[in-house]
């Protein structure tokens, strides 16, 4: 039931969309949900007025401590009534306020969404849940403030409001998590009962500050107040709703809600009351000087929020009661004032009080309403504002402070009262009297539609009724709310209109008289005020944001500069650090251990390698030459593998190297075959140093690797190769059996690379150079005779070698991969000797399909073992006796190796033949 209550506004948000263009229907549909919710709430209010609460709870994320707890006590009830009640009035008001161009369904949907979120805050019985709704109000208010999104001030105002309240929300999140952690629960009941534990906790101070930051930003307390005036870019119903009864009240609601848990320390008093005091004064002062109607109201809102905050800061039960009371009163008179301002704006087309004068003549009804509400705001007796303000004055006197500190609160309170009276008077006098209107966009103004005034009338009636007969009208509600705020420790207080001639009354009188005087001398004050340097917080804020954006952009550009060389350098520097940190931080035994003896031929090989690699690096700009040197390095590496008993590696390295060189040659046809010197000498030295460091690091690690000896898996592989894998070439058995899954991935890589290259070369049109690097034309003969002729028998010979290497692979160096590459090289030779078109026209095989078949063979072979209930890639091998041939050894790994073979052939040829065609196409076109 309680969840339905909470869900109603959200569900109701969809309803207005059903109304289409029918505005009355739309508004009625919008009103349905809040009306139902309000009715339901009032019907079930009994226990609440008895000091109890309506509670329901289901777990949502217990791990997080997040339960969906709805808990409606007096305070929640009070706010819920405000939210729903004023919300209903706003819906009615907005029906007439919005013009035909504004999307009504969108407006009502957002408004109801906001209403639901606000309702969620006040009825949450779990702090995390409350936080959820808290942030939802930020989002909703962003969307509402930016409702007139075509207006720049609306967009910027919305963003600023979101930035401040969102930022505050983050602090609140942190604060509440800390709070929950201190208490061990986020359930409100538990938290409220744990005040002593909380205040004694070492994390109390940071937690409190974080929570207060959340509350202050939301309630626009100094120094986070500046977003509120700019939020006035919203349509007036939004301002009337958000900035009287709801959004900004969320902050003070939080102060009230957590009052029993958090208050009662000097830190609380200091922070809360100074923020409140500052806001109270600044708001009241600035409000007087605003020429914009809504601006005046916005700053007065600030001031009243400051007042409420200050009251909570007084840290006494009575002050808290006063605060709750003022929350109610402010909601009523401020909502009505905003609506009145909206009516005036609506009817005159402007909100500038320098142009709006003497409206009394044109719209007396509205004027009366506004006057009553303004009187309430000014704290005139018999109005509700008077009562709470009197309580405020009284409390400011009874703080038990001494010395100057004792004087400060009453002084500030009175001063603020003075200004409050002054701007209230200005709101009335400047608008409804003060001569004739000047140059109004809409002239003559007249009374708004009847129904547009009804919400104002209701609210004004409340102001007066409360002001005249507080004990009857408001006492039960206030009792319930204040009682809940104080967690049941409600002090005695009296809600009388007349308390006798006492100091607070004196202060009220001073405020009234002082306010009138100030207003009387307003012109002198205005000119004085205009001479003060004006601080435009909005501009400061936006400038700050823009500046930090520019800074962020510049910093980002420094590192993310699209320079591969810089990216590489950064990475290599990290590499150097990693290598040397490894050497530095652990013990290193640099003693020369027993090593293999060195022989002259190996040294010669080493010399070859060193010189070839070094010269490659030095003369890389002569590219063909560098490529030849690279071949030398490859050759030496292969021979090195042989030198250290790794024939399979040598074979693989050799074939891979030649295919790589072919590839690079193909590429060099298009790439410039020499390049200009680009780097500076300093750059080259820097790179050389970096390279050397990397080289030293890696070399040192290599040295350590070769001089350390740990037990390795080698013995097992050697022992298992024949019995387990059915082959004597252990390397190959590892590849196709023990670690066949690696090979499986490896051929996949090859296949993908081929596919990728195939894709890269599609629609790649490169201009074939017509002259060689030295500016000479190319040779005329495309396919020299002798090469062509020799290539024919060579093909079969090479294929024979390939087959031979394939078949022996399981027992002796070789295997599918090398065989596949040899086959590819043999076929490539045909391309080189005879040309692409000649070969392509004779070989029908589709390399992509060959690749696919290869992968499939490997895959299917691997899955074959499933039929024997063995894991993927389990091999089987055995002996088959055939007539004539005799005993034959068969291993399923051979089948897998065939898959490898086919993949390699398909992939390699796919890459190279495709590339070969790129140039040939261009030459054909160019008619070489």
């Amino acid at each position: 039931m309680l969840y339905l209550f909470l869900a109603l506004p959200f569900v109701g948000a969809i309803l207005p969309a059903l109304a289409g263009n029918n505005r009355n229907l739309g508004a009625s549909l919008a009103a349905l949900a809040p009306l139902a919710a309000l009715t339901g709430l009032l019907l079930n209010a009994g226990p609440i007025f008895d000091g109890g609460a309506l509670v329901a709870s289901v777990p949502w994320a217990p791990t997080l401590g997040l339960n969906l707890t709805v808990r409606i006590d007096g305070l929640a009830f009070l706010f819920a009534v405000l939210v729903l009640g004023i919300g209903l009035l706003i819906i009615l008001y907005a029906r007439y306020y919005l013009s035909a161009r504004d999307s009504m369904p969108r407006f009502y949907a957002l408004l109801l969404f906001f209403m639901g979120a606000m309702l969620g805050i006040v009825v949450s019985g779990n702090l995390l849940m409350m936080l959820v709704f808290w942030e939802l109000t930020s989002i909703a208010s962003f969307l509402l403030i930016g409702f007139w999104s075509h207006r720049e001030d609306a967009r910027k105002g919305a963003r600023m409001a979101l930035a401040i309240t969102g930022g505050g929300g983050l602090c609140l999140l942190a604060g509440i998590l800390l709070l929950g952690n201190i208490v061990g629960s986020y359930e409100l009941d538990v938290v409220l009962a744990a005040g002593d534990v909380i205040r004694a906790h070492p994390l109390y101070a940071p937690m409190l500050i974080l929570v207060l930051l959340g509350a202050f930003t939301k309630s626009a307390q100094f120094p986070f107040h500046f977003w509120l005036p700019h939020a006035m870019a919203a349509p007036t119903p939004v301002s009337a709703y958000l900035h009287s009864a709801t959004m900004v009240k969320a902050g003070v609601f939080l102060l009230a809600r957590l009052f029993p848990a958090l208050s009662g320390t000097e830190l609380w008093t200091l922070v809360v009351s100074s923020a409140g005091m500052a806001t109270l004064l600044i708001g009241a002062y600035v409000a007087l000087f605003k020429h914009d109607l809504k601006g005046l109201l916005a700053y007065s809102t600030l001031s009243h929020l400051g007042l409420i905050t200050l009251l909570f800061g007084f840290n006494t039960p009575l002050a808290a009661v006063a605060a709750v009371f003022h929350i109610i009163n402010h909601a009523t008179f401020k909502a009505s004032l905003f609506m009145a301002a909206g009516i005036i704006d609506h009817e005159t087309g402007t909100r500038d009080m320098r142009r709006i004068n003497g409206l009394w003549k044109y719209m007396p009804h509205t004027a009366v309403l506004a006057m009553v509400a303004a009187a309430a705001m000014a704290g005139v007796p018999l109005m509700n504002g008077f009562l709470s303000k009197e309580m405020f004055f009284a409390e400011s006197l009874h703080l038990g402070l001494s010395g100057i500190a004792a004087w400060l609160p009453p002084l500030v309170a009175t001063l603020a009262g003075v200004f409050s009276v002054a701007y209230s008077v200005r709101f009335i006098h400047d608008v409804f009297f003060n001569g004739e209107p000047i140059d109004l966009p809409k002239y003559p103004p007249h009374e708004p539609p009847r129904y547009m005034k009804i919400p104002v009338e209701i609210l004004v009636a409340v102001c007066v009724l409360v002001g005249v007969a507080p004990a009857w009208i408001i006492a039960p509600l206030l009792d319930a709310a204040a009682g809940a705020t104080l967690n049941g420790n409600l002090p005695d207080y009296s809600l009388a209109v007349w308390h006798g001639l006492n100091l607070p009354l004196m202060m009220s009188v001073i405020a009234l008289v002082g306010g009138l005087l100030i207003y009387a001398f307003r012109h002198r004050l205005f000119s004085l005020h205009e001479r003060l340097p004006e601080v435009d917080e909005k501009r400061v804020f936006e400038g700050l944001v823009r500046m930090s954006q520019g800074l962020a952009w510049r910093v980002t550009r420094v590192f993310e500069n699209d320079s591969l060389q810089d990216y590489l350098r950064a990475m290599l520097m990290a590499l150097v650090l990693a290598l040397f940190a490894g050497l530095w931080l652990s013990p290193v035994d640099w003693r020369l251990p027993q090593m293999l003896p060195v022989d002259i031929p190996t040294v010669a090989l080493g010399a070859l390698l060193v010189v070839a690699a070094g010269v490659t690096a030095l003369w890389h700009r002569k590219r063909v030459f560098a490529l030849l040197l690279l071949s030398v390095v490859g050759l030496v590496v292969s021979v090195t593998f042989i030198r250290f008993s790794a024939p399979d590696l040598a074979l693989t390295q050799l074939v891979v190297e030649v295919v790589t060189v072919l590839l690079l040659m193909l590429a060099l046809f298009f790439l410039p075959d020499s390049a200009a010197l680009e780097s500076t000498a300093r750059g080259r030295v820097r790179d050389a140093v970096l390279s050397s460091l990397v080289g030293i690091g890696v070399g040192a690690m290599a040295w350590l690797m070769m001089t350390t000896d740990v037990p390795r898996l080698a013995d097992w592989f050697m022992a298992q190769s024949v019995p387990g894998g059915g082959g004597t070439n252990v390397v190959n058995v590892i590849l196709v059996d023990f670690r066949g899954f690696d090979t499986f991935g490896e051929i996949t890589v090859l296949a993908i690379a081929a596919l990728g290259i195939y894709a890269l070369l599609r629609e790649l049109y490169l201009k074939a150079p017509e002259l060689n690097g030295r500016g000479r034309p190319w040779a005329m003969e495309t396919h020299p005779l002798i090469l062509e002729v020799v290539s024919r028998p060579l093909l079969s010979l090479s294929l024979l070698v390939s087959l031979y290497i394939f078949l022996r692979g399981h027992n002796l160096p070789g295997g599918g991969f090398i065989a596949g590459l040899v086959t590819s090289v043999a076929l490539l030779m045909q391309y080189v000797a005879n040309g692409v078109s000649w070969v392509q026209s004779r070989i029908r095989s589709h390399y992509l399909a060959v690749t696919g078949i290869g992968l499939s063979v490997a895959l299917v072979t691997g899955m074959g073992s499933w039929f024997f209930d063995r894991p993927f890639l389990t091999s089987a091998h055995g002996y088959l006796t055939l007539p004539v041939i005799g005993k034959m050894h068969l291993a399923s790994a051979l089948l897998f190796d065939i898959g490898v073979y086919l993949t390699v052939v398909g992939a390699t040829l796919l890459m190279l033949s495709r590339l070969g065609r790129v140039s040939t196409l261009d030459r054909k076109r160019g008619g070489h």
């Binding site: 520019g550 952009w553 550009r557 699209d562 320079s563 060389q565 293999l596 060195v598 080493g606 070094g614 490659t616 690096a617 890389h620 700009r621 490529l627 490859g634 590496v637 250290f644 008993s645 790794a646 399979d648 590696l649 891979v656 790589t660 590839l663 690079l664 298009f670 790439l671 410039p672 390049a675 780097s679 790179d687 970096l690 390279s691 050397s692 080289g695 070399g699 040192a700 290599a702 690797m705 390795r712 080698a714 592989f717 050697m718 190769s721 024949v722 590892i734 090979t743 890589v749 090859l750 690379a753 290259i757 890269l760 790649l764 490169l766 027992n811 160096p813 991969f817 992939a907 590339l915």
Partner: protein, 113 residues
């Protein structure tokens, strides 16, 4: 011999890295190739080097650790696929971008937000 091989590996890496830091695609590819060679040797050396025979179970006597060899084989193949890819990619870059410079800085800088 271990020292010799370490020096060779370190030198290959150094040369490769130097090439890697050049501004054009071709030396970068060559640098990567040199690094790949060095890494293959490095990985191979992780099993220690011996004068012992090849890891073939039919022959008697000592043998070298076969596992690093199998790993290097896989690494060589993968390295080959990657090298092939980047070679073609540099061609594609040449075709698309009009030159073989590796940096993008010379494109008009994006203006500030």
């Amino acid at each position: 011999m271990e020292l010799l091989l370490s020096l060779a590996i370190g030198w290959l890496v150094a040369c490769g890295v130097y090439l890697l830091l050049r501004a054009r695609t071709f030396p970068v590819v060559m640098g990567l190739t040199l690094i790949t060679y060095a890494v293959n040797l490095f990985l191979f050396a992780s099993g220690g080097i011996t004068d012992a025979g090849a890891p073939v179970a039919s022959t008697d006597g000592p043998w070298t650790d076969p596992l690093p060899q199998a790993l290097v084989l896989t690494a060589i193949v993968i390295g080959f696929a990657m090298t092939a890819y980047i070679v073609i990619l540099s061609l594609r870059a040449l075709g698309d971008l009009g030159d073989d410079h590796v940096d993008g800085d010379r494109l008009p800088p994006e203006d500030q937000p």
